[in-house]
Symmetry: C2
Subunit: 317 residues, 2 copies
């Protein structure tokens, strides 16, 4: 099953993604809360440019950082050591549960050091407090892709206060489609195998393997989130930036240098700093175009494309 | 205007809180998004025990820590220094936007060190990105009271990871009523003056002045939250635990010793530790009863009572 939200209405997406049919439940949240996914109306042409996020507003977004290689690299970039326990105890923060459309502009202030982060996310049904990783995995209803916009220049100062991200993580954008696990050929029950593809200004920036380097699977992330609370249906759990080590255990290479590249600019800057003594790739500036899609093990793009253009944030005066 | 949610339905509460009338909009979120607060039906008897939180589920809960005295005290309790900048740069974390009913049980594991935190919260209309504190204050539509349940034994470990609270801050409970600022005699445009009252097992625990010691007002907290994102209507912004210094600038005294007491157990334990070398008040255990209400400058309880009993969390096996 593949779903989208068009004109504030939940729709079922056809196999070729050319048409859609309204679902009986008006929203994905209502459907997840016991509503119906049954088709209810005539088929319509589907224009991905008209898609909102499949779940435009939820109540809970808990974003993990399951690809620990990413944590290691971005910490190195800001001169912070990564504690050994991060390999056994998942990092997770409460994020903004408002999700932007796949083609929403990225409004950025040049002083913020705006970056993308391509990640997978799952949307759960009801999860009881204290659920096990197996119960967590079984509660996953849909998978999608997020661009977790990160304001790198604001992060060190905000994290040093110890309360996590607020200003430095504005709303994420979401791919147009949410897909149920059984419709995803690379789903192994708790991880999704395939390639997270990122193009920056039309050039390949990342071709990162989502099934590799995911230290904590989605079942473990859901269980971590549910340790002291029940998670209501519609909870979104993010994987954190997809990130791979290379065959030698190192941080890999940019695509331009023959590597798999990265799912955020910060990692590439760290690698450039390690290699050349300083970063060479700037953070996002006005006019930059970011395209993110997931390619499955059969070469398809089940979630459609996130395609965003960076706009200078107008002053508010 | 005073609102509640009864049987999944937004209702207007009468002046004496004995009756209510359904509102045209089904939910507070719908009303805030441009719906109607107009009465739509017959008056019904209002039983506060039937009230859910006035806004049972939102998309965004950003909890400040505006009473900096609280931060100073709980940090001292865990041997952590408070940076000087906390007096000028608001602390804020992204919290769980699911709100429990005023009489929901507090499900606690004895190992978690469960505590209450009585705080004020505001519910906003739409706030543009980059709003000023004045614009932030003007966007406040309703005020209410929260009990921000805090699992003290989990906090140091979780905060040391640097990503803020997830497991250590399960959903907050909310008072039965949300009240518009113009109906609150102690509202000064950005702060609410009155007394936050907390009884533990029927004995006064706190009688803390909400208009004093609030280093950052609600306008400043809303502006902080809106620095890099628009806040959609229905955003909840918390004040953090209400906390007063005494006349000498010290941490005050428990009610039993003639002071104003505290709005959480952690502060009282810190003061006990400073005075006696160790804490004397245990965290919450099964059967404990916590009652929280706000008394306004005219001696009324505009938000009604939060009244919760602690239950041992059953194992999930």
């Amino acid at each position: 099953m593949r779903l989208a939200t068009v004109n504030d209405r939940l729709v079922l997406v056809s196999e070729d993604a050319q048409t859609c049919v309204p679902a009986q439940s008006v929203s994905l949240l209502a459907a997840l809360r016991g509503g119906s996914y049954a088709p209810d109306g005539d088929a319509l042409a589907l224009d991905p440019a008209q898609c909102a996020a499949p779940l435009p507003v939820s109540h809970t977004f808990l974003d993990g950082s399951a690809y620990v290689n990413h944590v290691d690299l971005v910490r190195r970039a800001r001169g912070a050591e990564m504690p050994e326990r991060f390999w056994t105890d998942p990092l997770m923060y409460q994020g903004c549960a408002v999700f932007e459309a796949p083609n929403a502009p990225i409004l950025a202030d040049p002083a913020w050091g705006t970056d993308f982060e391509a990640e997978l996310a799952v949307i759960t049904g009801d999860v009881p407090c204290g659920a096990s990783p197996e119960e967590g995995a079984a509660a996953i209803r849909f998978v999608t892709v997020l661009n977790d916009i990160s304001l790198r220049a604001l992060i060190p100062d905000e994290l040093s206060k110890g309360f996590g991200f607020v200003q430095s993580k504005p709303p994420s954008a979401c791919a147009p489609f949410a897909v149920s696990p059984e419709a995803l050929p690379g789903w192994d029950g708790a991880r999704l195998h395939g390639t997270m593809c990122i193009d920056l200004n039309g050039k390949p920036f990342g071709r990162v393997q989502t099934g590799e380097g995911m230290t904590f699977d989605f079942g473990q992330l859901v269980a971590h989130a549910a340790k002291t609370r029940a998670l209501p249906a519609g909870t979104v759990i993010g994987s954190g930036t997809v990130s791979n080590r290379d065959a030698q255990g190192g941080p890999g290479q940019p695509v331009a240098d023959g590597g798999l590249g990265y799912a955020c600019i910060a990692e590439q800057r760290t690698v450039e700093t390690l290699a050349h003594g300083g970063p060479r790739t700037p953070f996002l500036t006005e006019g930059d175009q970011v395209t993110i899609w997931f390619e499955d093990t059969e070469g398809n793009r089940p979630f459609g494309d996130i395609s965003q253009t960076v706009k200078h944030r107008a002053g508010h005066d």
